[in-house]
Amino acid sequence: MATKSLKARNNDLANTQRQLEILSNGIFADGELPTFGAKIKETNQFPLRPKKLEILQINVGYMCNQVCAHCHVDAGPDRKEIMTRETMQQCLEVIKNTGAHTLDLTGGAPEMNPNFRWFVEEAAKAGIKDFIVRSNLTIIRANKKYHDLPEFFKKHNIHVVSSMPHWTRGKTDKQRGDGVFDKSIQALKDLNAVGYGMEGSSLKLDLVYNPSGAFLPGDQMALESDFKKALLEDFGIHFHNLFAITNLPISRFLDYLIASDNYEDYMYALVEAYNPAAVANVMCTNTLSVSWDGWLYDCDFNQMLNLKVDSKVKHISEYNEDILQNRNIIINQHCYGCTAGAGSSCQGTVA
């Protein structure tokens, strides 16, 4: 398993333009499969437009203590893109006035940003209804200075959403790195110990499941039930909900698909599983994504493809919700990942 990001390896796919070329050429250029735009035109859903803004998702940096094989951010210890306090200040101004009810902090490992705790404390004061931090779990056990994160999350009533690809060690470590499973289990126990994920607890702990290979996630409810049973029986761990998320064919997952000769089959699987009902609720219709350097995107995936919003407002410093709401969402073939089967978003299925 690689221990460096595509960027540090100078991999061809670290270039977003190259990724977009791959997604537009081959089976999509020769008409073997319809482009995403053509597909949503069939049901009069083109151009895709935002609905009410509900979620502001802020990526506070691409640095991470893990180098997961499927990571769409191409995050890792070698990534130095970190949101500055100045950009955080601009975000706070927006958070105070936004109509969104959910603030969603992501990364990388967001906790590795040196201003993370300050930012959480300031943002919590804005009184946002649902305040999510996407934690990779192992960060809690990575260093002594992070051991008190469960208490910190609890103090600010943070909704913790954590990745867990499988309830077995082998599958988890293959996707996320050696030793990740054991550390994740310990971190979940630490979170349970302060009340997170317990039945009836208002301290919300949800898990994210990403398939560990070139296949789509199964039924979210069935997976949740299997995860709950196995984690409780084997480790005494509790959590609230499981979000089944489809891997989108970009960045490191795209690199894996091509290297393993699975790209075409995977795109076929996504297109065959296309569900027009999911299109109506894809997350770009209710979310705005902010990058570490303050640029605005329709979603975290478009951020990683460097597809900035199609609006005259493109940066957090000039944020204007009314103008932003009146935009067309930028689409490409990777969008099929959010519309397959029951659909996929950072909050799980959508259809």
């Binding site: 499988h166 398939p211 199964g218 995860f227 065959e272």
Partner: protein
């Protein structure tokens, strides 16, 4: 046309069999879909049975389809291999049990 008898890409075309007999094709897929729904057996159990039968029938398309289906359901490699062994055990048992017929015949023919 492919020079091979089996082509992995043909699995994607399975649905096209309805084009030459719409009524029977549709009836088959309707029946097929119904069979795999959650029932007295869970969809997960049915997937493992299908995987075992895929092997005894030695159908490469079915093996591809139900290996992927198993992974999607979070079924582990260990569970899948055990299911394959169940199929293989029945298949070999089905051969071996005919040994009784052979023994019967020998006993009848020999003085």
């Amino acid at each position: 046309m492919s020079k091979n008898y089996y082509d992995a890409a043909d699995l994607r075309k399975f649905g096209k069999i309805t084009e030459w007999s719409e009524e029977l094709g549709n009836k088959f897929f309707e029946y097929y879909g119904k069979v795999f729904e959650e029932g007295a057996l869970s969809a997960r159990e049915k997937s493992l049975i299908a995987l075992a039968v895929a092997h005894t029938e030695m159908c490469p398309y079915c093996i591809d389809a139900y290996t992927k289906d198993g992974l999607q359901r979070g079924i582990t490699k260990e569970e899948m291999m055990e299911a394959v062994h169940v199929g293989a055990a029945i298949k070999s048992g089905a051969s071996l049990v005919h040994g009784v017929q052979m023994m019967n015949k020998v006993n009848k023919l020999e003085m």
